[in-house]
């Protein structure tokens, strides 16, 4: 007997049409007179299979992928009414009472879920669901412990900051605890500005109570009575669910005055970001909450000494907070059992870009990159070779495929010139131009630099100009050397992490893909056919004169008579590629500025 239907309804699911699916399921059940509960849950991490619907039958849980609304009727008829699974749509099967499962894509088997243990299973808007999943048990336990004991536990777990820098969390807590101050703030950093990363969104949308519980424990441990969650404005659903969770937590006495009759009081505000990447940096974030321009300031003094409104302040990332309850419940040793070297526990990575299976995966730290990219994510979407993976966003770098044996730990990643960062992994295949990628990130940092220090404000701008020149007809090898030299100086001369890391994308692509840079400036050719100023569309002698390209061209750059080879006027061509799409004879080629038999 089917006991329950779960529909994944995070932003990713909704973008794929989960709302329509949900409506169709409700309608279909009603028209059949069935009263099976339908539950809205977070994302199970397999965003590439959204909309994702799971059917619970006794202890068996059957997951269906790509469940757009048009598939609902058959699912209801065959599985819900007929009692027989729609085998070809099943992507996952799991049992609550025995070791038995099925994982069609091999996406789940290698994952270990700590941060995401409830995501996709509980209704994020229901505190009862969270409580049923051992929610707030860690808080009950923590309130009976001495603050120092809690801090020791976090320390021994080896947990490190998941916001990017990887600072040991236990040490941060200890430092804040030891500050003698009447007023202390704690902050949850949910700015997640790194484009291509969405771990924090998934945690906040899928399991907001977990972050709240972590924060209450943290506040108790360091002696704070007031906290903030700073969440980016682009995540309206995360903010909505978080606010709802806060109200519920207050109603049940987990937040507010005299929490669980322990004498400890604490509450949380939510601040919505206003669109500035640099506000993810802790001192800039503090300025933003204070209502100022989000400009970083030099440290020391560190926020633990002088932070929000001048008071001692402890900032941790969303994912860092989301680890806390699990550690308190299961013990430091249980957490430290996962991981490698000084990088303990699990880390959530956001797989995106040209990857076959994109989504959030949580794996023990130390897993080699290739296991994540190939075994879990299935390689590239196009079937072409993966050229590189970009890690750490605008502060990180591109790791080339020949280094894919590298285990993902803070130390190993830093050696490659990239960073673990917040956990975004953007996959790039042979159609991605590495100069273009460097240019993309440089453009981003130019726009997001707050302008306070010269190296960051002007240096990144000059670097962008060099990259634009390299990807155009006028680039020279001297530009490449200048780019490398300037990159080192911007790193050394900038005030905050933004500027100190802004050259990384350019420097790592230079380090690993110098040949691509050289092809641009020496041969005036973009090997991946991305940089338009270096591309020339030409019609080869395979052309039979069918006129299809001339008709497709939006700017009428193609001329020629029927049954005769056509040609493209380079002065008119806007390089939109419409002709390649229109030609059925593969007669349109792309060459570099010096290449090919050009007839125009």
């Amino acid at each position: 007997m089917v006991s329950r239907i779960l529909v994944g309804m995070n932003s990713c699911g909704m973008a794929a049409g989960a709302q329509e699916t949900l409506a169709a399921i409700r309608k279909g059940l009603a028209s059949r007179g069935l009263e099976i509960p339908v539950k809205v849950v977070g994302c199970s991490g397999n965003c590439y299979r959204e909309p994702f619907v799971e059917v619970m039958t006794g202890s068996m849980r059957t997951g269906y992928g790509d469940m757009t609304h048009d598939r609902v009727e058959r699912l209801l008829d065959e599985h819900i009414v007929g009692g027989k699974e729609v085998e070809e749509w099943v992507v996952r099967r799991s049992c609550t009472d025995r070791e038995e499962g099925f994982d069609r894509d091999g996406y789940f088997s290698k994952q270990v879920k700590i941060v995401l243990e409830n995501s996709g299973t509980i209704d994020p808007e229901s505190i009862d669901d969270y409580l049923a999943a051992d929610g707030y048990k860690a808080l009950e336990k923590a309130l009976k412990m001495a603050p120092e004991e809690i801090i020791n536990e976090i320390d021994h777990s080896g947990l490190r900051g998941r916001g990017g820098a990887g600072f040991p969390t236990g040490m941060k807590w200890k430092l804040t605890r030891n500050v003698k101050a009447e007023k202390k703030f704690i902050i949850c950093n949910g700015d997640e500005g790194d484009p291509g990363a969405f771990m924090d969104r998934n945690v906040l949308e899928g399991d907001p109570h977990k972050v709240i519980e972590g924060m209450i424990i943290g506040a108790y441990a360091v002696g704070s009575d007031e906290g903030y969650v700073y969440c980016r404005a682009e995540y309206p659903l995360a903010i909505k669910r978080l606010l709802k969770a806060l109200v519920q937590a207050r109603e049940r006495g987990f937040l507010g005055h005299d929490i669980l009759s322990s004498g400890f009081s604490f509450d949380i505000h939510v601040k919505e970001g206003a669109g500035a990447f640099v506000c993810g940096e802790e001192t800039a974030l503090i300025h933003s909450i204070e209502g100022k321009r989000g400009m970083p300031r030099p440290r020391p003094p560190y926020p633990s000494v002088k932070g929000l409104f001048g008071a001692s302040t402890m900032i941790n990332n969303v994912e860092t907070w989301a680890n806390v309850a699990w550690i308190i419940r299961n013990g430091a040793a249980g957490y430290a059992a996962f991981g490698m070297g000084k990088s303990k526990g699990t880390k959530v990575f956001a797989l995106a870009g040209k990857v076959k299976r994109g989504g959030n995966v949580e794996v023990p730290m130390g897993m080699p990159l290739k296991e994540i990219l190939y075994d879990i994510a299935g390689g590239s979407r196009s079937g072409k070779d993966i050229k590189a993976v970009q890690m750490g966003g605008p502060s990180g770098g591109c790791i080339p495929s020949r280094l894919f044996d590298t285990p993902v730990t803070y130390e190993h990643m830093t050696q490659t010139g990239a960073i673990v960062g917040s956990g975004g992994m953007v996959v790039m295949d042979t159609d991605t131009c590495m100069v273009d990628v460097a240019k993309f990130f440089q453009d981003f940092t130019v726009k997001e630099s707050c302008g306070k220090c010269t190296f960051c404000r002007l240096g990144t701008k000059r670097m962008l100009e060099l990259l634009i020149r390299i990807s155009g007809p006028d680039g020279t090898e001297a530009d490449i050397d200048a780019l490398a030299a300037l990159g080192d100086e911007v790193k050394a001369g900038s005030l905050c992490g933004l500027g100190q890391t802004a050259p990384n994308p350019a420097l790592t692509t230079l380090r690993y893909f110098k040949d691509e840079y050289l092809a641009h400036v020496r041969e005036k050719r973009c090997p991946s056919n991305v940089c338009k100023p270096l591309m020339r569309y030409v019609i080869t002698d395979r052309c039979i004169g069918c006129t299809a390209c001339a008709r497709a061209c939006p700017v009428k750059a193609i001329s020629g008579t029927v049954k005769q080879r056509h040609s493209i006027d380079q002065t008119i061509c806007i390089k939109c590629g419409s002709c390649i799409g229109a030609c059925r004879f593969g007669a349109v080629d792309i060459t570099g500025l010096n290449g090919g038999d050009v007839d125009a």
């Binding site: 484009p195 606010l243 509450d267 204070e290 321009r293």
Partner: protein, 188 residues
């Protein structure tokens, strides 16, 4: 509801009476109550810290930040207008011109970039005749670019009003815009 800070009826945010609550507000109340809530802070610091949420509330209400409203707020808060503009222009969220009836945000984050965000932007320009950063002449659409909507696994994506559309290509852009123009996505 359980009161969180002694002496306050409802946590955690309040606005002056003249403004609507922002999305981050769970109650409405008086300025005075905030003052009690955070009595440890001096008054001007506290007023300053209200600035960004108030600007957000204003933008939520008006669609942009009208100059005359900013002036009123400046007087109410005791924050100089120059500082207010300093803050408002720092953050990309704030607009100083009215918004079209629909807000289309095309993602240019990393994942969307490598999966062809430029083509999506071009298709948008083709459909609407409106470039990014502009509002269409009939006042129906404002097109903006954003740097990641957090739905990277469905890239390229765009957000129309509060709804994200994923796995886009030129055809799908046309389809969504067509539906918008016919009013089929209204009220969703």
């Amino acid at each position: 509801m359980v009161s969180s800070f002694p002496g306050t009826p409802e946590p955690p945010f309040y606005h002056p009476l003249s403004l609507v609550p922002s999305r981050t507000t769970t109650g409405t109340g008086l300025f005075e109550q905030v003052r009690k809530m955070q009595s440890s802070m001096d008054e001007q610091t506290m007023r300053n810290s209200r600035l960004i949420p108030l600007l957000q509330a204003m933008q939520e209400e008006c669609g942009y930040l009208p100059a005359d409203r900013l002036k009123v707020l400046s007087e109410e808060l005791g924050v100089p207008l120059s500082r207010m503009y300093g803050v408002a222009t720092f953050y990309t969220q704030f607009r100083f011109e009215p918004l079209g009836r629909h807000l289309v945000r095309v993602c240019h984050g990393t994942a969307c970039h490598v999966n062809g965000a430029m083509q999506i932007a071009d298709a948008m320009t083709d459909c609407l005749g409106t470039k990014e950063g502009e509002t269409s002449k009939d006042g129906e659409f404002t097109v903006e670019r954003v740097a990641c909507l957090g739905c990277c696994s469905l890239s390229p994506v765009m957000m129309v009003d509060d709804r994200v559309h994923g796995k886009l290509d030129k055809e799908k852009v046309k389809e969504v815009i067509g539906k918008l123009m016919r009013g089929e996505l209204d009220g969703q």
